[in-house]
């Protein structure tokens, strides 16, 4: 795994950069080819990689917070509330501010879930999961209502909700990279604590881990990653759930392996799926990348679930 994942990342990157709707001759690039490569394709590939890394890492972190392998940015409601923020921006015709609205929505949703799930200063994982699901449902309903209300914005809302990396710019890449670095570095020193957090709370705290403080930190880092990802690329399902699961089934169960691996694995997966999304159809047409992640990812995950039932059984 230590060699496979970085190799997969490099391969996915090379493949994603070299293939596309326009063929580029790398050895003698024309002016237009150079523009396509550096202004369109490269920022897009990088954004795909970064969003994949961010979503996978946020999934892992949410799973530690909730002690539940089903937790990710969806079940916590952060994705849906970010999307709600973005859809409000679309409704108001404030396209350039979509990321900002998504961030605001994500943080608002996060704060709500956090307040509901905290009792006497402690986060209750189950309450949080329930609150997240309720928030998700509520946000989805709100989005549907807004779609119903506005005839002219419907298509752009739907398009945005499907998710994608078409709107990539170097600046977005840079900001998301900074967010990932910040989140990752803030939890990097806590590998051993994260492993201990997998025990029940009594065992974890009597081992010397300040369970509650650690949970808050993980929670905010994960939410930050999700809000920025959704803001830049819309809702892309499943990455935060399947990438960590596949890695754990590949025996990367300790945080010191799982966290870095989720970054590389998520990035490689997303670059590859985006490559498929933009090259599978003829004539420069694109499939929404969310369709690919959910279908390929879903089928593969189902296969793993059935194949590796025994390992999953011993998860709990």
């Amino acid at each position: 795994m230590r060699i496979i994942l970085p190799a997969a990342l490099v391969l996915a990157f090379i493949a994603a950069v070299s293939a596309g709707a326009v063929k580029i001759d790398f050895f003698s690039m024309s002016e237009m080819e150079r523009n396509i490569l550096f202004d369109v394709r490269l920022p897009r590939v990088v954004l795909a990689g970064l969003v994949g890394a961010a979503l996978a890492l946020s999934g892992v972190l949410f799973q530690y917070v909730m002690k539940n392998p089903l937790a990710d940015s969806f079940t916590t409601g952060v994705s849906a509330s970010s999307a709600m923020g973005a859809v409000i921006a679309i409704m108001l015709g404030l396209m350039p501010y979509i990321p900002l609205f998504a961030l605001a929505g994500g943080i608002a949703g996060l704060y709500l879930v956090y307040r509901i799930a905290s009792y006497r200063g402690r986060i209750q994982p189950i309450t949080m999961l329930l609150a997240g699901i309720v928030l998700s449902t509520f946000a989805s309903a709100t989005i549907s209502f807004m779609k119903f209300l506005s005839d002219d914005a419907v298509s752009s809302i739907i398009f945005w909700l499907m998710g994608g990396f078409q709107a990539a710019t170097p600046l977005k890449d840079l900001i998301l990279f900074a967010v990932i670095c910040f989140s990752f570095l803030s939890v990097r020193g806590d590998y051993l604590k994260l492993d201990i957090l997998c025990f029940d709370d009594t065992t974890a705290s009597s081992t010397g881990v300040d369970v509650n403080r650690l949970r808050k930190k993980l929670f905010f880092a994960a939410a930050l990653l999700t809000a920025f990802s959704v803001g830049y690329a819309g809702i892309i399902g499943f990455v935060g759930l399947i990438i960590p699961h596949i890695l754990r089934l590949g025996n990367l169960v300790k945080a010191s392996y799982l966290l870095p691996a989720s970054l590389t694995g998520g990035a490689a997966f997303m670059m590859a799926t985006d490559l498929v999304a933009r090259t599978i159809l003829q004539g420069g047409q694109e499939l929404p990348v969310g369709v690919i992640t959910s279908s390929i990812g879903g089928v593969f995950f189902l296969y793993l679930l059935i194949k590796r039932r025994k390992e999953l059984f011993y998860f709990n």
Partner: protein
Amino acid sequence: MDGLHIGKGGLIAVLGNNGSGKSTFLNVMSGLLEFTGGYRVNGRPFREMAQAESARLMGFLPQEAALNMPFDAFYVVLTGRFIHSDGRMYSRADIARTENVMKRFDVFHLRDRLFNALSGGEKQRVLLARVMNMDTDIFLLDEPFSGIDILHQIKIVDVFRRIRSEKIIMVVIHDLSFAIHHFDRFLLFRDGRLLYDMKRDDLSPEMLSEVFGVRVGFAEQDNRMFVYTEEM
């Protein structure tokens, strides 16, 4: 329970019926439950201590533990070294100690097995080894013998007896005969209160009857004390 003082040396059995306050007592001691009043450890008020500091002093084995990650038994025991690690990595010394502790508690052969795939008693022994791996001065063990076979109960209590002179080991236990044979001091709980705090030789059947609400009698055979119980 004003004025309770517990010093090193001697195995301490915490006895009482369900709901009599044994677990609450241990939970409060280890700082996991809020409490009124106060107590001191090594002369320092416990309330002033941070989580990491109290974990360095006290190892606590809860009655029920759960793990939701497929760690092997070795790693489970290794996590007991957390307070002694630099927080980022376990050292060679931590690993060597873990092997030692696992051998001492006869769970070394389980080291590569998934913790969650072990039987109930094996899990309990691994968790006990984990707590002992914390190498603290004080051990608070809530029913460590539950689910463990007799052979291993005796092995475990032998380990306790060997290290008892330099440690405080408090154990919640239900087997009266076993407790009276192996333990030195007895904290007897009833209805949420510490009713008696006795050395072994000062225990009487009457006291135990009062604590447990059953008729308790002592019988001696081959220089060993046996306890029998019957309905009042």
